[in-house]
């Protein structure tokens, strides 16, 4: 079981996996909104492109879930990042659900529609807003709380600090 956890944490890559995988949904869903808006000028090509972007985002977001849960489970519950992680997860679930509904609304009409309007457009706007909020929380976990930073290079940095004469706490 440990090998699976290590795999999902990205130890084999010496880089956490979750932030890599989320690039795709994080790019696809806001781009879907951009494509929706551009469909006013570019017609059905954009409607289709938006549809493909939502699908690609959904598939990849499913891959990103287990890596995210494993990263989150490694955070101690008393740390402030644990709660941020919880909100991040809930927001992601809601955003993914909204884009799944969004996809369902388009699936029969994207082949002919000349532009995106109404419920799918509104869902794209809300989903994108929630996703960006959620991504911001994910970024805060890394850049403000240092989650998964130096997880793989702890030994290297301890070595450097030790060579510099630092008084290190026990591992």
């Amino acid at each position: 079981m440990q090998w699976l956890l290590d795999f999902l944490k990205g130890k084999w890559l010496r880089h956490p996996l979750h932030p890599i995988l989320v690039h795709v949904p994080m790019a696809m869903w806001p781009s879907a909104l951009i494509f929706d808006l551009l469909s006013r000028w570019n017609g059905n090509a954009m409607v289709r492109l938006s549809f493909y972007a939502i699908i690609f985002g959904l598939v990849t977001s499913l891959l990103a879930v287990p890596t995210g849960v494993v990263d989150w489970s490694g955070i101690k519950k008393e740390k402030p990042a644990w709660k941020i992680g919880l909100y991040h997860m809930i927001l992601n679930l809601v955003a993914a659900l909204l884009f799944a509904i969004n996809l369902g609304l388009r699936v029969h009409t994207f082949r002919e529609d000349a532009f995106v309007a109404g419920a799918p457009l509104v869902l794209s706007i809300i989903g994108t807003a929630l996703l960006i909020g959620s991504a911001y929380l994910g970024g805060l976990m890394v850049y403000d709380y240092g989650i998964s930073v130096a997880r793989m290079s702890k030994k290297k940095w301890r070595g450097i600090a030790k060579a510099g004469g630092a008084n290190l706490p026990a591992e």
Partner: protein, 197 residues
């Protein structure tokens, strides 16, 4: 002020890692649409859509380059991550150049049913280089801690470490981090040799 904004200090989150999601995701989408167009040429507009995804990806890459360059200049030259950062920067410039060419090559064949071999190969090379570059960028954050907690820093970027020796090929006397003019004063006063590595 502008530098603080581009480093994302008001946001407590660097801007570059946020913006790069768009070129990375859209370039991959563009390649996927190319590959689908090879397998299913009867689906309309795939070639055109791959072009649009690439175009918006390039715009995103150019926007992301600005805070990226500011982040780069904020790493002191003797930081262990500087070489990785230089490689990341160079690779990204090559990737954007390749995608610029790629976009130009395909712009005349938007009504084709299949993306032709040249642009597909350019996209494959682009994604390969971008994966390496993205990985290096991630290593800068998750291994070297670049821009982690930076918004909490009140002091300016630390100076490079300066090394003082007693002369040519001699033992190092002291290594320290301080403004260069102070080190120069010490050098003059003690007749030591100053080398910034």
């Amino acid at each position: 002020m502008l530098k603080d904004f581009l480093e994302g200090k008001p946001l407590r989150h660097p801007l570059h890692p946020f913006l790069v999601h768009f070129p990375i995701g859209l370039f991959i989408l563009s390649l996927l649409l190319d590959l689908v167009s090879l397998g299913f040429p009867s689906v309309p507009n795939l070639v055109r859509d791959a072009f649009y995804a690439m175009l918006i990806g390039i715009i995103g890459a150019l926007v992301a380059a600005v805070p990226g360059f500011v982040d780069y200049t904020d790493i002191r030259n003797d930081h262990p991550g500087k070489r990785t950062a230089t490689a990341h920067l160079t690779l990204n410039l090559i990737v954007v150049g390749l995608y610029g060419i790629n976009l130009g090559v395909r712009s005349s064949t938007l009504n084709a049913l299949r993306t032709s071999a040249g642009p597909v190969i350019l996209s494959l090379v682009g994604i390969a280089l971008l994966s390496v570059s993205g990985y290096l960028g991630g290593r800068l954050v998750y291994d070297e801690g670049i821009s982690v907690g930076r918004h909490k820093r009140r002091t300016p970027t630390p100076e490079n470490t300066l090394h003082l020796t007693t002369g040519e090929n001699s033992e190092e006397v002291i290594a320290f981090r301080s403004p260069k003019r102070r080190a120069l004063a010490i050098e003059k006063h003690c007749a030591w040799k100053l080398t910034a590595r």
